[in-house]
């Protein structure tokens, strides 16, 4: 990292180059990122505070918020357990097919969320492979809450694992091996040795997973049936409101989601500076 002061070194870029670059970068960031974010809040408050809060009192909106929270409360813990198990298996052991497993974990990030919803329709809808099995028992999956949970779980399952795996890989297996020689079994080792070492990465992974679960749109759009007040999550409700030209209400709900996204980013920034401090302290000794 260069400082703005100090003698000119041969690897310094000329000032005009540097400031042009910074200006271009900042302009890009503002136009592409900041503007849309600002628009959300501006539009939400366009008709004043009263209208803003009224949006949340509406029963359909409240139902959407409740559904989002329910789905998130199921998907995130499941994916957290998965992430921990996968990171443990992948980083502490050597086995055949490890890279295949890692590729599989990265898969949802490169397929369209609509396809994620599609594959569940292909399985669980009335015309799906497993459809009749569930229909006979009166269980609705597609166009009902279980389908939404499944689709959300699929789309967000990599996030915890992806935060944990590189860190645990880097930490190696020495501490766990030491714990084994001291007489600890696998559960004790996992909870007392491995877990505390990754607590910040885990926290951020869970936060990110939660943000993505709350905001999932494409996959849920496919499996939900868009029944207002029953199978609409917050993002779907935003879509409904927007399509009805009820802009203020739409942006009001959207702003809640945007706020959570900002909290996630802020926590990440705080965690990173904490990491830096810890790293620096460890390297000093």
């Amino acid at each position: 990292m260069m400082s703005a002061h100090g003698p000119a070194a041969p690897t310094r870029d000329p000032a005009w180059f540097k400031w042009t670059l910074i200006s271009v970068a900042l302009a890009y960031v503002v136009i592409v990122l900041a503007l849309p974010l600002l628009a959300v809040f501006v539009e939400a408050l366009r008709k004043g505070e009263a209208a803003f809060f009224a949006a949340f009192n509406e029963p359909a909106a409240a139902a959407a918020i409740q559904l989002t929270l329910l789905v998130t409360a199921i998907a995130v813990p499941l994916n957290t357990v998965f992430g921990l198990a996968a990171a443990w298996a992948i980083t502490k052991f050597e086995f055949v097919g490890k890279s295949f497993l890692t590729t599989l974990i990265d898969l949802p990030l490169s397929i369209s969320p609509v396809i994620a919803g599609l594959v569940y329709v292909l399985l669980y809808s009335v015309h799906g492979w497993f459809g009749p099995f569930f229909a006979d028992r009166g269980i609705e999956i597609i166009f009902a809450v279980p389908g939404i949970v499944l689709a959300t779980t699929l789309v967000t399952f990599p996030y915890v694992a992806r935060e944990l795996i590189p860190l645990m890989q880097q930490q190696g297996t020495d501490e766990e091996a030491a714990a084994a020689t001291l007489g600890a079994g696998p559960w004790r080792t996992f909870f007392l040795v491995t877990l505390p070492n990754v607590k910040w990465a885990l926290t951020f992974g869970v936060l990110l997973c939660t943000a993505r679960a709350m905001g999932e749109f494409g996959a849920v759009s496919v499996v939900s049936g868009h029944i207002r007040g029953q199978t609409s999550t917050m993002p779907l409700h935003v879509e409904i409101l927007y399509n009805e030209y009820n802009f203020v209400a739409a942006f009001a709900i959207a702003s809640l989601l945007a706020l959570f996204a900002l909290v996630t980013l802020a926590v990440r920034a705080v965690l990173e500076s904490r990491f830096e401090a810890e790293l620096a302290a460890a390297e000093r000794t």
């Binding site: 690897t11 502490k92 949802p108 397929i111 492979w129 297996t173 559960w187 905001g215 996204a261």
Partner: protein, 289 residues
């Protein structure tokens, strides 16, 4: 812990699935992971691969090659490519500024880069639509010159630029940060001009990372739905993206047709990403990162 499971040595050594280790808890964790993945990923994917053929090979071909489908696929892939390219250029610039320079607000910008990653796509979608709509902040400015952004393919590309932004920045940043200052200084002491240093020493190192970022942004953009659906015109043959076509087919209960288009998207993406990976490997071999 070393361990190569599968290569036979001169002694008769049985092939092992996994290297024995001092740690316990492999089978519970691996078992859980395997079951979870099968249930959540593998079986659903199998459905996607197998169901299209219910309408026979002709059926699949017809569904995939219809004019409307081809237009939608072309739009999705082309717009994604353009958006990813734009991000490749500007994302690298942003990464360069973040790694090499100090300026006020740098930390905020760094954290902000991940916004598209954390923000729900629908929120981004309506925000972008409102800005670039004919009566929106930017849309109005361009509208005065008779240029329409929202409801056209251009609007789609802008939404995809938003979505793919973090991928290039986060791919290039660590590579730039790791670049040893000393190599640049060596080039300078050997008489290289700043430009030569950049083009012959720095560029070969970051080019592969740019390509990785491009690939990730591209893959993400191809399937993007939420942020695009509001700003796109959704007119068939003109501004209809492939994911939307899949949803329309599902609403018509044409499951096999929807699956066929989904499968086509997956296959094309797969091929393209494979090619990009090969290009990446080639660059690494030649340039050395």
């Amino acid at each position: 812990m070393l361990g190569v499971a599968a290569s036979p040595s001169s002694e008769t050594k049985r092939w092992r699935f996994r290297e024995p280790s001092a740690l316990g808890g492999f089978w519970p964790s691996f078992g859980f992971v395997a079951v979870y993945l099968s249930f959540i990923v593998l079986i659903p994917l199998a459905a996607l691969v197998l169901r299209p053929w219910e309408i026979g090979i002709d059926g699949v071909w017809r569904a995939v090659s219809s004019e409307r489908t081809v237009a939608a696929l072309k739009l999705s892939f082309a717009a994604a490519a353009v958006a990813a390219s734009v991000n490749a250029v500007f994302g690298t610039i942003v990464a360069w500024a973040l790694v090499r320079y100090e300026f006020p607000g740098k930390r905020v910008v760094d954290a902000f880069v991940d916004l598209p990653f954390a923000l729900p796509t629908a929120v981004a979608g309506i925000a972008l639509a409102s800005i670039y709509a004919p009566n929106g902040l930017i849309g109005a400015a361009f509208g005065a010159h008779d240029i329409r952004i929202a409801y056209t393919p251009i609007g789609i590309m802008i939404a995809l630029v938003f979505i793919g932004f973090p991928f290039v920045v986060r791919a290039v940043q660590p590579v730039l940060a790791d670049l040893e200052r000393e190599v640049e200084e060596a080039a300078a002491t050997l008489g290289a001009s700043r430009w030569r240093t950049i083009s012959q020493v720095i560029w070969p190192s970051i080019a592969p990372a740019m390509l990785t970022g491009f690939s990730l942004a591209f893959a993400r953009a191809v399937g993007e739905y939420g942020s695009v659906i509001f700003i796109a015109g959704n007119l068939p043959m003109v501004s209809e993206i492939a994911p939307l076509l899949i949803i329309i087919k599902l609403e018509e209960f044409d499951y096999a047709g929807a699956a066929a288009i989904g499968l086509a998207m997956l296959v094309i993406s797969f091929v393209l990403l494979f090619a990009l990976n090969a290009l990446h490997a080639f660059m690494i071999r030649r340039g050395g990162a």
